[in-house]
Structure formats: C-alpha cells, structure tokens
C-alpha cells in the first residue's frame, strides 16, 4: 500500500493500481464515458483526464487519463483544476458538435458549462460516441460479433461486412451498456431483432414469459456446462418449482416428526 495525494487529501492505494479505480473508491466523481469495469480501460474519451505532479517535478504538471495511469508513491493528483476543467470542457464541446441530438451528451456537457458548441456542428452526426464499450464487451463475452470499423472520423461500429453478424447471440450486452443508447433493438412477440439479425426468444414452458434468446441459451449450454433445460423455465417459475421441491422434503420431515 502506498500514499498518494488527491485534491489535497492523502489517500491509500495499491502500487500500480489504475488511478480511476482509486478515485471511484474515494467517491471522487470524474467523468469517464468510455470506461466500463467489465473490460480493460480504453483511454478514448479523455474525459477522465486529471492533472498530476510530483514534488521532484518542481512545479511541472502532466495531464493523464486516470483510467490507465498506474499510481506510484508520492503522486499528487488534482481532479478538477482549472486546466483539467478546460480540457474536459473542450472535449465536451467537440462531443456536442458531433452529437447534437444526444440528451446524455447534452447533460454531461452542461455540467462543464457547455450549452452549445463553439465549433461547426456535424449535420449528420449520430449518437455513437465511438467509445468502444459495445465492441469490447462483445469481445469479452467471447462473441466478437461487432467491431470498430474504419479509421478516424469515419469510424463506425458494425458487424463484419455490414451484414447480420453470424456470431451475435442477441444477448443485448452492447445495447444495454451504450452510454448514449445508440444501439437499437426490438423485442416483438416471439422475436428479437438487433444488428439486422432475427432471434427467437425462449418462452417459459410454465408461464409463457419471454426470457433470453435461444441462441444465447444454446451458447451458454454448449460452452459453459449448463443443461439447456435450465433455460426453458423463467426465474419466477423456477422459484415456485424450488418451493414445491423443498416443500415435499419439508413435508416428510413434518410427517416424521408428528
């Protein structure tokens, strides 16, 4: 354990731990749009930038993204200095220019005093901030169904060849973790559609409620040593079933005792 200083306060941390996890633990709120604990830090949005210095730097500061900066002894951190706020404001200004229609971006930008962009608004700007959370989670899950395609300003998130991705199981992890709710999906009747692919939802054999897709259940059953029949009943009906099974046992015990 080492001591570092954050905003004037001495704090303990593990040497080599990423600074952002220390900040979170100390309940210091720093925006981190492209960050998700399920995957490795990315360093793409640059919003978690903080100012760091050390005694031996004689007043010189550096600006680093806390999500990827490994802490070391004697680190002095300033999370909301004037320069840091200016950097965040500029980045948010750039975001608003690119995503003029995103309420999530608007809300975050307003926290830093950006109510409208000072740059040229990109007319056909959609709400994908290219944070890569969706693709990284999809990779972490093991599906690799979508990825970031292309380079620079024209980068997009897409399935291979822009066709229905063969490896997608319809788990919705991408859509549910998108910071701007950009990824669209539709659950209608027995089916789910996402990324141009149609999936059949499992219907609980007891109550008829829809749970996860057949493809996702099949993947888990094939690869994670879980019997497929577990997936055929919903959680509520599983609880009822459990109560009945345990009830039988409890009843014998009751009968034996009396």
């Amino acid at each position: 354990m080492i001591n570092i200083t954050i905003n004037g306060r001495i704090v303990q941390a593990e040497e080599g731990e990423y600074l952002l996890s220390v900040l979170k633990r100390e309940k210091i709120d720093v925006p981190a749009l492209c960050h998700h604990d399920a995957v490795e830090p990315y360093g793409g949005c640059r919003l978690c930038t903080v100012e760091i210095t050390k005694k031996e730097w004689n007043g010189w500061s550096d600006y680093v993204t806390s999500c990827l900066y490994p802490v070391e002894k004697g680190l002095i951190v300033s999370t909301h200095s004037t320069k840091v706020n200016e950097i965040r404001k500029t980045i948010l200004d750039l975001y608003v220019a690119r995503h003029p229609n995103s309420p999530e971006i608007k809300e975050l930008a307003e926290q830093y005093g950006v109510f409208e962009t000072t740059f040229e608004t990109i007319a056909d700007g959609d709400n994908c901030t290219l944070c890569g959370i969706c693709t990284r989670i999809c990779d972490e899950m093991g599906f690799h169904a979508i990825s970031l395609v292309g380079r620079g300003h024209g980068k997009i998130v897409a399935p291979p060849l822009n066709e229905a991705p063969p490896d997608c199981t319809g788990c919705l992890s991408c859509a549910l973790n998108c910071p701007t709710n950009f990824i669209k999906f539709k659950d209608e009747g027995d089916y789910r559609t996402i990324w141009g692919k149609k999936f059949e939802l499992i219907t609980c054999s007891q109550c008829g409620k829809k749970t996860i897709t057949k493809e996702f259940a099949q993947y888990l059953s094939d690869n994670r040593d879980i019997p497929y029949e577990y997936f055929e009943i919903c959680d509520e009906c599983h609880r009822k079933q459990t109560a009945l099974e345990m009830g039988k046992i409890a009843n014998w015990t009751r009968e034996e005792q009396s």
Binding site: G43, G44, T49, V64, L68, K83, L130, R151, G152, H153
Partner: protein, 617 residues
Amino acid sequence: MQIANPKQLNKIRKEYLAKQDQYPKKIMVCCGTGCIANGALKLVDAFRDILKKRKIKGFTVEALKETGCHGFCEQGPLVVIEPDGTFYSKVKAKDVEDIVEKSIKKDEIIEKLLFTDPVDKKKITKYNDISFFKYQKRIALKNLGKISAHSIDEYIAYGGYQALAKVLSKMSQDEVIQEITKSGLRGRGGGGFSTGRKWKICKDIKAEAHYVICNGDEGDPGAFMDRSIMEGDPHAVLEGMMIAAYAIGAKQGYIYVREEYPLAVTHLEKAINDCENLGLLGDNILKTGFSFSIKIARGAGAFVCGESSALMKSVAGEVGEPRAKYIRSVVKGLYDQPTVLNNVETLVNVPIIIDKGADWYKKLGTPKSSGTKVFSLVGKVRNTGLIEVPMGITLREIIYDIGGGIIDNRPFKAVQTGGPSGGCLPESQLDLPVDFDTLTEVGAMMGSGGMIVMDDRTCMVDVAKYFLEFLVSESCGKCVPCREGLFQLLKLATKICEGRGEEDDLEKIEKLSDNIILSSLCGLGKSGPNPIMSTLRYFKDEYITHIKDKKCPAGVCRDLITYEILDNCTGCTACKPVCPVNAITGNKKELHVIDQNLCTQCGACFAVCNFDAILVS
C-alpha cells in the same frame, strides 16, 4: 558455408577485394526506387547486353554494380564511374553504348551527360565537386551509391559485420550499451531519445523475451530517407539490429516496413537470407552462443502505425491503434514484453559507432545532438533529394549551399521541418543551427528529417490546411481530441482559406490546439496542431489578411484569387484549349478574356502562358 569466427569474415573480405582488383573501373548504376521509376533497370539491361555480345578489357558484370540511392533522385537515372567519381545524370538506355566506348574503354567524358550546376550553370564532372554532395557528411548513407545493394560479400568487403564480430567476441552487453550511450546517439525517427539509455532500460527488465523492432514505416509525406537505406544498404540495418539484440538480450527481431516499399522488402529479405546462409543470423552466431533471427512485418497503409504502440499491435496482427504509454513499450511492448523500437537511420549508425568509437562520433554534430542527420530536402530548392549533414549546420547552409537556393531566384518564405508533426520556420530563423533541441525551441521539430522549402508563392494557411487534411485522414479515431479536434481545426483552416474566416477564429484555433496537445492519446494528436500553431506564430499577418481582407497574398487559395489576362496577351490561343471549364474566349492574335463566373482558378492557363500575360491576384 557458415562463418565460425571473425577471421573467416576477413577471409571473405580479402578474397572479394582481390577479385575486384582486376577491374580498374567500376560502374555504379543507381537502382533506388526513384531511378528505377526513371528507367534505371533499362540501363542495367543495356550494359548487360553489351557485355554479352562482346568482351571488354577490364570490365565484366562483376564491375557493374546496381547500387542504392544517392539521394539526388530528380537528376536520375544516375551513373557514377569509380574510382574517378565521374558523375552522369539523366542517363538513358541509348547513352549506354557511348558510356562503354568513351568512358569505360577510354577515359573520355561525355559532356552532355554531365550535371549542370543550377546556380552558376557550369558543368561538373566529379561527384565530390557537386555542391549537393560536397557539403554532406555521409555516415548513415556511406554505402548508398557505393556498393551493390544485394551483395553480402560486397558489404563484408567494405567493412561490414566487423562491428558485429567485435561486439560478439570482445564486448559485454553493458559495454555495448555504454559505448552507444557515450556516443550521444539519439533516436533519428524524431523522438530524439538517447538510444543507449533506451537499450539499458529494456535490458534491465526481467522478462520471458526481449524484442528488437526496426521502424521502417516512414509515414511522413515526402520522406524517403529510410526507404533509401533499406533498399540500398539493407545489411547495415541488419547489423544494427543484431548489435541491439545482443545488447538487450533479444532472440527475435522484426523489421516493420510500410506497405508502399516493396523494393525495400525484397532487398531486406535477400539480405536476411544471405545472412542465414552464412550463419550471421540464426543459432549460435559466430559460435558465440548468441542467437538471433529477424522477420519482416508489412504495414498496410496507415501513418499511425509508425507510432510505437500501434506498430507493435500491427506486428502482432491486430488493428494498429496506439495505447496510452504510461507504461512505456521498452517495459511492455510487443506481446507485452520489453521491446526496443529503433528507427532505420538510428540503427545504421550503430555499427559505425562500434567500429570507429563513441569519441569519434561525438566530435561530429553539437554537444547535445552528436552525429549527423539525413534530411529529405524538397520543395522550391534547385537541388532536391536526400542529404546527410552534421548536426549544427544552419538552415541557410542547407538551403543555399547544398540546395542551391530557391528556384527562379524567388524570395524564400519558409521551411517546413519534421513532416506533419513539425512546424514552419521563417527567414528570421535561417541561421538557426539545426539540432533536436533548437528546432523544438522555436516551435518546429526535427521529426524524421523532412524539410520542405517554400517560396513567396506558398500560402502558409494552405500549408497548415494540407497537413491537417493529412492528419485527419490518418488519425486512428480512438481519442476525441485528435479525431474530433483536428477535424474541427481543419474546418477552421478551410473556412479561412475559403474567405469565410471570422475574427475570433484565430483565438479558437489557439485554444483548441492547446487542449488537443494536452489531452491527445498519442504523438499524432499531440503534435497534430504543430503546423497550424507554428504558421500562426510566424505568419499571423497572412492569416489576418485572409480573414479581414479576404485576400491570399501568395495567390493560392482559390476562393480568394482571380486569374486575369493582361494587355500584353498576344492571342496565341495556348490557354483556350487547356481550360477545363471553357472560360476563355478570344480569337487568334486577339486579346483573350477569362469569364470570371466560370473560372475555377485551377491555374492551367497560367501554366501554359509563355508571355506572362496572366495575372493572379
């Protein structure tokens, strides 16, 4: 046959030189990419044809050398006759017969093939008398144009692999690192980091594997230093890598060559093959227990893959995107192992330093930047090409003494150094001695050595826009300041060029640039604003003229200039057919007129007018 000890190297050397002694004259035909594009291989074929048909005393194919690039590509194809140093430029296949009859069989000079000095218009016979070459100090480029690019025997004959033998048999890893550190060699790819220190940090890390990677990506537009070295002296690159590998304890090395350099790949592959056959690469080299192999990894057309972490991802087969470098790649690089990444030019300096000693090397250059640097001198200078000069030489000496001054005697305006990451320097900085630190202090950058000379017909706002366009298209897109920030900077620069600039645009540019520099993930973003910031620093008035007066003083920005035909038009009608939009009307021998509503300011008419009758304002 595998070499078992340094004595055998000497044997190869002596035998080769003895064979070569039979030839009093050697013909060096430059076969760098530039000269090949100009037909150099046809010259080689022509020589070979003649040699097949008849016997010439003292001249066989053994004396005909396909060499690497001299660096004077605009004057190619080049043929140099050694040992006299007779220099023939713009040689065609049909001249070969003459060369054989007059300059090889006899000692006659062919006047019409001689190079004419662009300043005093005199014809020059010898290589070393040409001002382009005279002032150079060729160390990294010492073999280019002097030896055959595909012969390991030739490389060994002229001193090659002596340094490797010395290192493996007489020096410890630490001694090698100390010597390189003492020499003051700094990264020639632009980083300028002490090579010896980098090696030391890497060597000291305990890990499963260490790697040496040669950065042959050379993405700066207009830069071809590394290309020429990889094509023309591939063994020097290999030798540098081998010494680096020994120093840090690496068993595997990679040369990352950009996709656009197929000839470099071919020559490097042959060199690696030849080394493997001789036992200079592979297991137990020179029976010293040192094992090292080299593989070539190809790029796929991305400038950002010249950045060290993106390059290493590309070598590993992943998408070339940089990562945050708080943990440096010397610590965790390729496959998360400690990796030394050195530029081509840095590596070829290594064998020379080992051969001649760190003290010798330190005498060249300046105290903090020892040695020489290869620059790609291009633009509006009379002599363009690759030059190698000692650090500390002034810009004035480079541009006027070596470069021969500005074409058409037009006034000098600026010199852009360091490629898209660099900056522009005005006339007031011409006496600046060039080295890593001086250039950075004035807002420019050494970079990989690009040097673009500009005259008064260059618009500095347009130059900034050009580099921003390049960077925007090459940005990997991972981080917001670079992807969106440079994009918005480009929009601002474009606005100004198109006459839509507003008063607060300059302040916006400065503030945005400042934040991009502080918050970008990698060097591409961090140095992206340099061109616009340095042109703003030294040429602010030009920007203000664009914004306030909506005028482009250099006559470049299309929306701000007009093309007019003056009274001295002779009606020769040369301009009429070249106009792509048929904006010119006029009869023969009568004054022609440009319809301003149709004119797109493309400049085609201006280019063909022989009477200076077209005014650009």
